[in-house]
Amino acid sequence: MADDLSDITDDELVRRAASGDQSAWAALADRHLASVVSFAWYRLGDRVEAEDIAQETLLRFAKKALTWEPDGAKVRTWLYRVAGNLVIDRQRARKPHSPLEDIEDTSIIDIQPHLDGKLDARRVVHKALIALPARQQVVLILVYYQGYTVKEAAEMLAVSEHAAESLLARARKSMRTALEPNREDLIGAGS
């Protein structure tokens, strides 16, 4: 059912969903849900929290859809902004403990138990990613992990393309520095 709507724009899906078309809403949710979950997961390192944030984001969008203006912000930009704000709320509300403590229990979905080395690599990389300043972190997630162009990331962050490029370069440099102590293990685990 939702596959039939794959060529329809987000705005059109929103319009249909707002008029009661359940399949349009399902298609819209399927189109963006995984991105929102992964975005929150990269930033928090906790699968349960990431899914909570994705659910809350889509819930808010369901309400917003009734008054959605097609020529305004893009759907994905709206979703990322709301999810980003919810991530910040979670970070502020968290008790002062490392979010990485939860990674092993909540996000191991595709790693075999005997691949301990790879698991450690994930923890090291995630720790470095979460330690980045927020904007560097977001640009790196959007561009590297989620496949958006620098221009698209700039639009989502409401910064110039040049500024986004600069943020991305600094993010990669910071990641290199942070990962350097584990370089041999990481390269071995990632290759």
Partner: protein, 121 residues
């Protein structure tokens, strides 16, 4: 012993970053999100809207009642009505209808037809 103090190159950094693979949304989350579809748009009545609607209906009803009462009252100046034919003292019917006072001068037809539409001699 080789020196290992140079930084990771882009490929090595990408390989390290690739160690992170995000979770896919759980089936439970997908199901929950699917049922969040916006409710169909419908007109809902707030107290203020209800009060406004009642006021408009009351005004409409009062206006219609006023108009109905106005129509039932006989006008003080009745429009000129043609005098009944029987009241004209013309028992023999010799006076042409066109000459009878059936209305004001402007509206009286000067055609020599009787009231029945028959041409008069």
């Amino acid at each position: 012993m080789t020196m290992q103090n140079h930084q990771m190159n882009d490929d090595q950094l990408d390989a390290a970053l690739d160690a992170l693979q995000p979770p896919v949304p759980s089936d439970t989350l997908v199901r929950r999100v699917h049922v969040m579809a916006p409710p169909p748009q419908k007109v809902f009545m707030t107290p203020r809207r209800s009060a406004a609607a009642a006021l408009i209906m009351a005004l409409g009803a009062a206006t219609m009642l006023h108009m109905a009462n106005s129509n039932s009252i006989a006008p003080t100046a009745t429009p000129a009505s043609p005098a009944p034919i029987a009241a004209v003292a013309d028992p023999a019917g010799e006076i042409p209808v066109s000459d009878l006072a059936l209305g004001d001068e402007a509206t009286i037809s000067r055609e020599p037809f009787s009231m029945a539409g028959m041409p008069l001699e």
